[in-house]
């Protein structure tokens, strides 16, 4: 197993039939996925759906109730200590020592990973350079803004040059500029072959990933590249078309749109309505029908499904299945 990891063969993570129960509650229910080396894997799902639990299972913080998983070619059941030496982890709230400076935080984590002084010094220099932390080096972590704390936390998680990094909601509570900068950095690192396992519930971030999976109530209900998910039959049923209708009167327009036969579903999106219509429905005719009802319509144009559409469709479908099963 260890040699497979060193040769760089095999996936970064492979999870088969992962189950984790807390008493009667099944937090992770038969979860399967594979993350290839060098991917940015987006792990999405609502709060409480089991994202953090999966990370804890993969890093050996929680024992599996059933199933098996390999991380960097090592078995989580038997080699969790070796796994922890090879992966980096950045927790939800950037767990830094507020009363230590940026430099001291880096020193501490470097020593925890047992880096020799010469290598530690080199790595700290590299991390400070990469994350532009130099001006803040002697500042207390408590005095950093959210974006800088996040860079420091990422730096701490990368000191020991892990080939796989788990980032648990790395952009929660961070301003948009810092979010953009973090993603630029992730792409750069990913270019060097580092694998990222990123949880988020920002859909724009999901769009940036090479590979996404969506977990809902402990089960994975979607897994693939963002493009392959957009084309799923559940999302884009055969014989349907997704359109965007721009209008200044979104609320009134939505009410009428839902009554028009041929429109299967409709939701408000800012100053427009996204609707799923039968593909033989003429777009001009749709526009006429709305205008006839006294609604000012701007444009009506075809639209590719966004990942948000994908997850909303899949969640609704799954929810309906759960309710049917219960009834």
């Amino acid at each position: 197993m260890a040699t497979a990891a060193q040769n760089g063969a095999g996936p970064a993570i492979s999870a088969e039939h992962l189950v984790r129960r807390f008493g009667k509650f099944t937090a992770v229910n038969d979860v399967n996925f594979r993350v290839e080396k060098g991917e940015i894997f987006g792990f999405l799902g609502p709060n409480g759906s089991g994202k953090t639990t999966v990370i804890k299972l993969l890093t050996g913080l929680l024992p599996l109730s059933a199933g098996c998983a390999q991380v960097e070619g090592l078995d989580v059941r038997t080699d969790s200590e070796s796994i922890r030496e090879r992966v980096g982890y950045m927790s939800q709230n950037f767990s830094l020592y507020d009363d230590l400076t940026v430099g001291e935080n880096l020193q501490f984590y470097g020593r925890i990973y047992g880096l020799e002084p010469a290598r530690l010094k080199r790595r700290i220099d590299e991390i400070v350079e990469l994350n532009s932390l130099a001006p803040y080096f002697d500042r207390l972590a408590a005095q950093l803004s959210g974006g800088w704390k996040q860079r420091l936390a990422l730096g701490c998680a990368m000191l020991h040059e892990p080939q796989l990094l788990f980032l648990d909601e790395p952009t929660a509570g961070i301003d948009p500029v810092a979010r953009r900068q973090l993603w630029d950095l992730l792409f750069e690192l990913s270019g060097h072959g580092i694998t990222f396992f990123v949880t988020t519930h920002y859909m724009d971030e999901a769009e940036r990933c090479n590979h996404v999976a969506y977990i809902y109530f402990g089960k994975i209900i979607a897994d693939g590249t963002p493009n392959s998910l957009r084309e799923l039959p559940e999302v884009q049923p055969h014989g349907t078309l997704r359109v965007e209708i721009t209008t200044p009167e979104v609320t009134r327009a939505l009410r009428f749109a839902r009554q028009i036969p041929g429109i299967r579903s409709a939701t408000i999106f800012g100053q427009s309505i996204h609707a799923l219509i039968d593909d033989h429905f003429d777009l001009h005719e749709l526009r006429e029908q709305l205008l006839k009802n006294g609604i000012a319509v701007g444009e009506v144009r075809p639209l590719a499904a966004s990942l948000e559409d994908v997850f909303v469709e899949l969640t609704n479908k799954h929810q309906a299945m759960l309710e049917a099963a219960r009834a």
Binding site: T59, L61, E81, S82, Y97, I112, G114
Partner: protein, 373 residues
């Protein structure tokens, strides 16, 4: 007027909910005063009884045995052992095993039979002033009583003379008595409290979880936490001793180096206790309450204020589980009685054992959170 109390109902409702949710805090705040009351009510009897007493009967004849019976029947003394030499008598008191040593001279019966006055030497450990006072009073009155009885029976004009001799703290100065014991209580503050808080703070901030994802081992984590505070505790001890010696002028009869060495196992126990508390508590407030719970027995059951001899059997047995009991015997032993390693090694060993057990328990509790390969 209505506006003056605006929001009262809502805030009241919310507070009731808080209290119900955080039942643990309420439970502790209510139970601690109750516990204190039970401890003070049952555990502490200001009438000093059953003082551990050791007897060297060099005479051994009927008259001497009668005197010993009188001592035993007094309820004040509890004869735990008979020895055959002055050295053994002294040792037992220096080691803290006995508070009172009674020596009946070899010619006790002879002198009484020859109508002469007989003297009995009573050595009293003065390091506990309340015990010492009671012991002096009771021995003197037993001597008087025995004399009176003999005067009436034999018409003898000579009496038994009890000669109490206060050892170690002849002036019965209270700083001499209180300060060595206080050392044990003060050290708990910088050891148990500080370690417990330092780990709970990491729990609250989430850094502990972050550490668990690194290859750090529970023992590495715990010892790394423990040693700096051991240093702080040791520094605190030096400060306390310096103050005690030069400000309060308590003479140190024994070897200070020995005291320093024997304080290490005590610091080890208190630190391990702090770690154990932090493995249980998730918030600063919980850690505070649990730590406070350890302070109580250290004050009341260690013999610091109330002599252990006066406690009912259950609490007396409990006092053996309180680390401060051993350390107070060590501090009073070295400082007041000039005790050496031969007298105190058992206390040191008891503390070290407790510390090891607590640390292993704490490490196991942490281990459960980090499953090891």
């Amino acid at each position: 007027m209505r506006n003056l109390f605006r929001g009262f109902g809502a805030v009241f409702y919310k507070e009731v909910l808080h209290v119900r949710r955080d039942f643990g805090t309420l439970f502790f705040s209510l139970i601690i005063p109750l516990l204190q009351m039970v401890l003070l009510g049952f555990g502490i009897d200001t009438n000093i009884r059953q003082i551990n007493t050791i007897v060297y009967n060099a005479d051994g004849r009927r008259e001497s045995r009668e005197l010993i019976d009188r001592l035993r029947n007094s309820d004040t003394f509890h004869v735990i052992r008979y020895v055959d030499s002055d050295a053994d008598l002294n040792d037992a008191i220096i080691a803290g095993r006995a508070r009172v040593g009674v020596k009946i001279p070899v010619d006790y019966s002879d002198r009484l039979l020859h109508q002469m006055s007989a003297q009995v030497l009573v050595l009293i450990d003065g390091s506990d002033s309340s015990v010492a006072g009671q012991a002096v009073n009771v021995t003197t009155s037993i001597g008087l009583d025995e004399s009176l009885r003999r005067v009436l029976q034999d018409r003898s004009t000579f009496a038994v003379e009890m000669r109490p001799k206060l050892l170690f703290n002849p002036d019965s100065r209270s700083p001499n008595f209180f300060l060595p014991g206080l050392t044990a209580i003060l050290l708990l503050n910088v050891t148990t409290f500080l370690t417990a808080f330092s780990i709970v703070r990491e729990k609250e901030r989430g850094t502990l979880e972050q550490l668990f994802v690194t290859p750090v081992r529970p023992m590495g984590l715990l010892l790394g936490k423990l040693l700096p505070y051991l240093g702080i505790g040791f520094f605190e001890l030096s400060l306390i001793l310096t103050f005690m010696r030069f400000v309060f002028r308590v003479p140190i009869h024994g070897n200070v180096i020995l005291l320093a060495i024997l304080s290490l196992p005590y610091l080890f126990v208190s630190l391990s206790l702090g770690i154990l508390i932090s493995s249980k508590a998730n918030t600063h407030a919980q850690a505070m309450q649990l730590a406070f719970l350890t302070i109580l027995p250290s004050v009341f059951f260690s013999g610091y204020i109330f002599p252990r001899e006066t406690m009912p059997a259950f609490f007396y047995a409990l006092s053996y589980l309180v680390p401060a009991t051993y350390f107070i015997n060590i501090t009073r032993g070295v400082i007041l009685r000039g005790a050496g390693i031969a007298h105190l090694w058992t206390d040191g060993l008891a503390l070290f054992t407790m510390g090891a057990v607590l640390l292993i328990l704490a490490a196991r509790r942490f281990q459960k959170k980090v499953i090891m390969a």
